[in-house]
C-alpha cells in the first residue's frame, strides 16, 4: 500500500478520464451528469489518498528512506526511471493539488458545454500536476510538466471567455518556450554528469564536478539560466508575466483557480527541487538578482493590481505580487544567519501553500459574482458596450443584499492583504524576515507591497459592497450550499494556519534545512 500510494495519486485521475469513454459511448457526450460525478469521485479518492499520505508522512525521513518512494526502471534504453517520492518540499504541494482539484470539480458543477471534454481534460491536468510534484527523475518531471500543458491549453481555449483563443495560445507558447530551455538543461545535465543519470537525487552529488565550458561560459551557469527561464515563465517573474493576466481573465473560474493555485507554484517548486540542490554555486551568485526580481514582482504586481477595474484581473495581478514574496524568501537561503535562511526558505514554501489557498478563494468568489451578475467590473470601462454605464461603478452596496458572500469576500481580501491571524501574514512575514537578514534595502522596498496590497483590496471591497445598493442587483441571490462547500475548507485552512502554523512548518522544515545546507556548503 505504502509504495503504491504515490502512483495511485497520479493515476486515479487518469483512470477516471479513461472511465468516461465507455460512458460517452453508452450515454452520449452531452450527459454532464455522469462526467461530473466521475470527476468528483476520482478527485475525492485522490484527496483521501493525499490525506492518508499526510497522516503517514514522517518529515524526519529523507526521500531515499521514505516508505512511499517508488524507483523502477521505465525506459531502460534511455536510462529513465519511474522514480516517485515525497518529502517536506513536495508534500504541501501534493496536498494543495489534491484539495484544489476536488474543490474545482465541485465549483465546475454548472459546466454544460461539452462536459465530457472539460472533465476528462481536467483530470488529465490533475494527473500532470500531481506527477510534477512527485517525480524525482528529471525526465519524468519534464514529461509531466509537458503533459499539463495541452489540457490547460484546451481548457482555456474552449471554455474560456471572449478572447480565449488568444489567451490560450499566448499561455501555450510562453510555457512551451520555457520548457524548450528546460529540455536543453535536461540533456546537458544528463550528458555532463558522471554517471549519466536523470535521478534528481544522484544528480545532487554529481553535478558539482562539472567544469566544462561552452563558448567561455560554464556549463553549470548555462544550465542554471535555461532552468531559470523555464521556471521564471511559470512563476511568472516580471517581465515574463504578460501571459498571466490574460490567461486568468479568459479562463473559466475553476481553471483560474488551478492556474493561480497550483501552476504558478510549479515555477518556484522547480527552482527549489532542481535548481537549488543541483546548482548551489549558481544560487549563491544569483541570489541577489533573485531578490531584486522578487521585489520587482511585489511592487509591479501590486501597482498593476491597483490600476485594474476588472476584479479578476486585479486578483491575477495580486498573484504576481504574492509570488514575489516567495522569490524574496528563497533568495534568503544564502543568509549568513541560520535563522534568517530558515525563515526565508520556510516562509517561501509556506507562502506557496498559503497563496494557493487564498488565491483559490479569491478566484472562486469572483467567479460566483460573475455567474450571477455576468460581469465583474469594479468600474465600467469608458468603452463599455452599454455607453450609459461607461465610467459608472459596476456594483455597490451588495453587503446588505448578500451578507454571507460579503463576509467570505472580506475574509479572503483580508487574507490577501496579509492581515495577522490569517495564514498569508505568517508566510509573508517570514519571507521578509529572511530577506531582511541579507538584503536590507530591498526588503524595506518590498514591504511597501503590503501597503499597496491593502490599497486595492480595500478599495475594491468598498466599491462593491459598501454604500447604497445598486438597484440593478436587488434580486441578487446569496451563496448556495454547493458554493459554501467549496469555500469553507479553504477558509478553515487559512484561519487555522494563520493562528497555528506549526503543523505545516514542522512538516516542511527538515526538507528546507537540507536545501539550505546544500546552498550554504558552497559559500
Amino acid at each position: 500500500m505504502e509504495s503504491s500510494i504515490l502512483t495511485l495519486l497520479i493515476f486515479v485521475p487518469v483512470a477516471g478520464a479513461v472511465l468516461m469513454l465507455p460512458f460517452a459511448m453508452l450515454y452520449g457526450k452531452e450527459n454532464a451528469h455522469y462526467y461530473k460525478w466521475i470527476a468528483a469521485i476520482t478527485t475525492g479518492i485522490q484527496l483521501v489518498l493525499a490525506g492518508i499520505l499526510y497522516l503517514n508522512f514522517d518529515p524526519a525521513l529523507s526521500v531515499t528512506e521514505s516508505p512511499f518512494t517508488v524507483q523502477l526502471e521505465w525506459i531502460k534504453h534511455f536510462n529513465i526511471q519511474y522514480f516517485l517520492g515525497v518529502d517536506g518540499l513536495s508534500i504541501p504541494m501534493v496536498l494543495l493539488t489534491a484539495l484544489l482539484s476536488f474543490i474545482c470539480i465541485i465549483s465546475s458543477w454548472k459546466i454544460d458545454k461539452q462536459p465530457l471534454g472539460y472533465f476528462s481534460l481536467f483530470l488529465l491536468l490533475d494527473a500532470g500536476m500531481m506527477g510534477v510534484f512527485l517525480s524525482l527523475d528529471f525526465f519524468l518531471f519534464y514529461i509531466f510538466w509537458e503533459v499539463m500543458l495541452l489540457p490547460m491549453y484546451f481548457l482555456i481555449g474552449i471554455w474560456g471567455g471572449p478572447q480565449r483563443m488568444y489567451a490560450a495560445i499566448k499561455f501555450f507558447l510562453y510555457t512551451l518556450f520555457g520548457s524548450v530551455f528546460m529540455l536543453l538543461a535536461l540533456l546537458a545535465l544528463y550528458y555532463y554528469s558522471d554517471p549519466h543519470t536523470f535521478s534528481l537525487i544522484t544528480l545532487i552529488h554529481t553535478v558539482g564536478s562539472i567544469d566544462a565550458t561552452i563558448w567561455g561560459l560554464s556549463v553549470k551557469y548555462l544550465i542554471w539560466m535555461s532552468l531559470f527561464i523555464g521556471f521564471a515563465i511559470k512563476v511568472p517573474i516580471v517581465p515574463f508575466h504578460t501571459w498571466l493576466p490574460l490567461a486568468h481573465v479568459e479562463a473559466p473560474t475553476a481553471i483560474s483557480v488551478i492556474l493561480a493555485g497550483v501552476l504558478l507554484k510549479m515555477g518556484t517548486y522547480g527552482l527549489l527541487r532542481i535548481s537549488y540542490p543541483l546548482l548551489p554555486g549558481e544560487v549563491v551568485n544569483f541570489a541577489y538578482i533573485l531578490a531584486v526580481l522578487g521585489v520587482i514582482n511585489i511592487i509591479w504586481g501590486a501597482t498593476n493590481a491597483i490600476a485594474q477595474i476588472d476584479m479578476k484581473k486585479m486578483v491575477a495581478y495580486s498573484s504576481v505580487s504574492h509570488m514575489g514574496y516567495v522569490l524574496l524568501g528563497m533568495a534568503a537561503a544564502i543568509s549568513d544567519s541560520p535563522a534568517g535562511a530558515q525563515a526565508g526558505m520556510n516562509g517561501a514554501l509556506m507562502q506557496m501553500f498559503n497563496h494557493g489557498t487564498i488565491t483559490a478563494m479569491l478566484f472562486l468568489l469572483v467567479g460566483m459574482l460573475y455567474d450571477r451578475a455576468h460581469h465583474r467590473w469594479i468600474v465600467f470601462p469608458n468603452d463599455y458596450e452599454k455607453p450609459e454605464l461607461a465610467g459608472q461603478q459596476g456594483f455597490g452596496g451588495l453587503g446588505a443584499k448578500v451578507p454571507v458572500y460579503t463576509a467570505f469576500v472580506a475574509f479572503a481580501f483580508f487574507a490577501g492583504l496579509g492581515l495577522p491571524a490569517l495564514s498569508g501574514f505568517i508566510s509573508e512575514a517570514m519571507c521578509f524576515i529572511g530577506g531582511f537578514s541579507v538584503f536590507r534595502t530591498l526588503t524595506i522596498i518590498g514591504t511597501l507591497g503590503i501597503l499597496l496590497n491593502a490599497i486595492y483590496f480595500l478599495r475594491a471591497y468598498q466599491r462593491i459592497f459598501l454604500g447604497p445598493l445598486n438597484e440593478t442587483y436587488k434580486d441578487l441571490t446569496d451563496i448556495s450550499h454547493r458554493e459554501l462547500f467549496t469555500l469553507i475548507p479553504l477558509a478553515v485552512l487559512i484561519l487555522f494556519l494563520g493562528v497555528y502554523p506549526a503543523p505545516l512548518l514542522d512538516m516542511i522544515s527538515p526538507a528546507m534545512d537540507g536545501i539550505i545546507k546544500i546552498v550554504q556548503s558552497v559559500i
Partner: protein
C-alpha cells in the same frame, strides 16, 4: 546451362519475400484481366501477399547473410526496415479502399500491384550491398511511384504532380548514377565492401573524383528523401498525389532512402565519412528550418504536412550525422513512429477530403463536434508530430536529439529544439480549427470500417510507444547494432 554457377538455393531462399510479392503482384494483374470488377478482391490478394512475405521475413530471423555473391546483404537492420515497408504498404492498401472511387478514379489491379512493386523496390534498396543493386531498387520504386502519383487521370493536380515527380526524379537518378560511375572509376568496384577496402588502402582517399562521386551520390539521395535544398519537388507532388499515395510516398520511400543512405555510409565509406559531417550538419539545419518555416504559411493541410515531413527528414539527418549504433537505432525508431503518425493523419485527410476540396484548414472547423473520434485521433497525431509527451513522437525526437548531444552536436540540437517549438504552432493550428473555431462548411467524412479501425490502432500505437517504448527501442537497438559490427571490421 548450370544455374548454380550464378546463384545457389540459399540465394533464392533469401529473396523468397521478393518472389512472393512479385507473384502476388502478377496475380493481382491477372485477376484484373479476368474482368472480375471487385476492387476489394485485388486489395485482399495484395494484403495476403504482404502478410505472407512479412511472415517469411520474420521467420528468417535476421541473421547476417550475404546473397548473390555480395549483391545483397541481409541482417537485422534490413529486417527491421523490410517489416516497416510491408506494414506501410498494408496500411496504404487498407486506406485506399474506397478512396479512389471517391476521387473519381477506379481501383484497378494496377494500383495494388504498383504498391507491391514499390515495396519490392524499397526492400532491394536497403538489402543491397552494391551500388548497382541500390540503383535497381531505387528505379523499381521510383517508376512505381511516378504512376501512382499521377493515378487520378481526371485530376489536373495529380497529372501535374506525376509529371513533376517523373522529371525531377529522373534528374536525381542521373545524379545518383553519375556518382556511382565515378566511385566505380576510382575504386574499381560497385560492391560496398570492396569500395571500403579500396579506400582503406589510402592512395585514393584524396582523389577528387572520389569526392565528386560521393557528393553526386549524396545529392541523389538528398533528392529522394527531400532534403533542403533538393526538396522543391515534394510539396507539389505530395499535394497533387492521391492522398493515400501521399501517405505511402512520405513514409516508406523516405525510410528506404534513409536506410540505403545509412548502409552506404556505414559499409562503403566509413573512413571518408568524417569529411562529410559538415555537409550533413548544414543539410540537417537547413532542412529542419526551411521545412518548418514553410509549413507555417500553408493553409492546405496536405501541403502543410508535406513541409512538415521535410522538417522531419531534417531531424532524421541528426541520426545520419551521428552514425553510431545509438544514432542508427534512433533513426529506425523515428522512422517507425514517423510512419505511424503520417499514415494516420493522411488517412484522416483522405476520409475528410472531397473532390478537389476539403483540404483547407477551415474545412476542419467543427469536425470535433461531428466526428469526435476522428478529431481526437487527428489531435493525437498532431501532438505526436509536434513531439509532446506522453506520445511516441516525443520519445522518438528525444532519441535523436539525445544521440546528437552525446556526440557533441549541441548547437545543432539547439536549432532542432527551436524548430520543434516553431512546428508546434502549425500543428496546433489544425487542432484549433477542429475544436475552437466556429463550425464551417459541413463535412461528411467517408471512410470504410477497416480504415477507421486502422486509424484507431495507429492512434493507440502513438500512445503505447510513448508510454512503453522499451520493446520497440530494443528492436531498433538490435537493428542499429549494424553500425558497431561493421565499423569494427574495418
Amino acid at each position: 546451362m548450370d544455374l548454380s554457377l550464378y546463384f545457389t538455393s540459399a540465394d533464392l531462399a533469401g529473396i523468397t519475400p521478393e518472389i512472393i510479392l512479385t507473384i502476388t503482384a502478377l496475380l493481382v494483374l491477372t485477376l484484373d484481366m479476368t474482368r472480375i470488377t471487385r476492387p476489394g478482391l485485388y486489395l485482399l490478394v495484395a494484403i495476403i501477399g504482404l502478410i505472407t512475405a512479412g511472415y517469411v521475413i520474420v521467420q528468417s530471423g535476421g541473421g547476417e547473410r550475404s546473397l548473390f555473391g555480395g549483391m545483397l546483404l541481409l541482417n537485422k537492420f534490413t529486417l527491421f526496415l523490410d517489416i516497416l515497408y510491408l506494414s506501410v504498404g498494408l496500411a496504404t492498401l487498407v486506406f485506399s479502399q474506397g478512396y479512389l472511387e471517391k476521387r473519381g478514379g477506379e481501383t484497378q489491379g494496377e494500383y495494388p500491384a504498383l504498391i507491391l512493386f514499390a515495396v519490392i523496390g524499397m526492400m532491394l534498396m536497403t538489402r543491397a550491398n552494391d551500388l548497382v543493386m541500390v540503383f535497381l531498387g531505387l528505379e523499381l520504386l521510383s517508376l512505381s511511384l511516378y504512376v501512382l502519383v499521377g493515378f487520378l487521370h481526371h485530376s489536373l493536380l495529380s497529372n501535374e504532380a506525376g509529371l513533376k515527380y517523373l522529371l525531377l526524379g529522373a534528374f536525381s537518378t542521373g545524379f545518383f548514377l553519375f556518382g556511382a560511375t565515378l566511385i566505380y572509376g576510382t575504386t574499381g568496384s560497385t560492391n560496398f565492401n570492396n569500395i571500403a577496402s579500396a579506400i582503406s588502402l589510402g592512395a585514393i582517399l584524396s582523389n577528387g573524383y572520389l569526392s565528386l562521386g560521393i557528393g553526386l551520390l549524396l545529392i541523389g539521395f538528398a533528392f529522394k528523401v527531400a532534403l533542403v535544398p533538393f526538396h522543391m519537388w515534394s510539396p507539389d507532388v505530395y499535394q497533387g498525389a492521391p492522398t493515400t499515395v501521399t501517405a505511402f510516398l512520405c513514409t516508406a520511400p523516405k525510410a528506404a532512402g534513409f536506410g540505403a543512405l545509412l548502409k552506404v555510409l556505414i559499409i562503403a565509406f566509413p573512413e571518408v565519412y568524417s569529411q562529410w559531417q559538415n555537409i550533413f550538419w548544414i543539410l540537417a539545419a537547413l532542412t529542419m528550418s526551411v521545412g518548418n518555416i514553410s509549413a507555417l504559411m500553408q493553409s492546405n493541410v496536405k501541403r502543410m504536412l508535406a513541409f512538415s515531413s521535410i522538417s522531419h527528414a531534417g531531424y532524421l539527418v541528426l541520426g545520419v550525422l551521428v552514425l553510431d549504433s545509438v544514432g542508427l537505432s534512433a533513426v529506425l525508431f523515428y522512422l517507425v513512429i514517423y510512419s505511424v503518425m503520417n499514415l494516420g493523419s493522411f488517412a484522416i485527410i483522405a476520409a475528410v477530403e472531397k473532390e478537389e476540396s476539403g483540404l483547407g484548414l477551415e474545412d476542419y472547423r467543427g469536425l470535433a463536434t461531428r466526428h469526435p473520434w476522428l478529431a481526437a485521433a487527428m489531435t493525437l497525431f498532431m501532438i505526436s508530430m509536434a513531439g509532446f509527451p506522453p506520445t511516441a513522437g516525443f520519445i522518438a525526437k528525444y532519441g535523436l536529439f539525445s544521440a546528437a548531444v552525446a556526440n557533441g552536436y549541441i548547437w545543432l540540437v539547439v536549432i532542432a529544439v527551436i524548430n520543434t517549438l516553431v512546428s508546434v504552432y502549425y500543428y496546433i493550428r489544425l487542432i484549433v480549427n477542429m475544436y475552437m473555431e466556429e463550425e464551417g462548411k459541413a463535412l461528411y467524412p467517408v471512410s470504410t470500417m477497416p480504415a477507421r479501425m486502422l486509424i484507431g490502432i495507429l492512434a493507440i500505437f502513438v500512445i503505447i510507444f510513448g508510454v512503453a517504448p522499451s520493446y520497440l527501442l530494443e528492436m531498433a537497438a538490435e537493428a542499429g547494432n549494424m553500425a558497431n559490427f561493421l565499423f569494427s571490421t574495418h
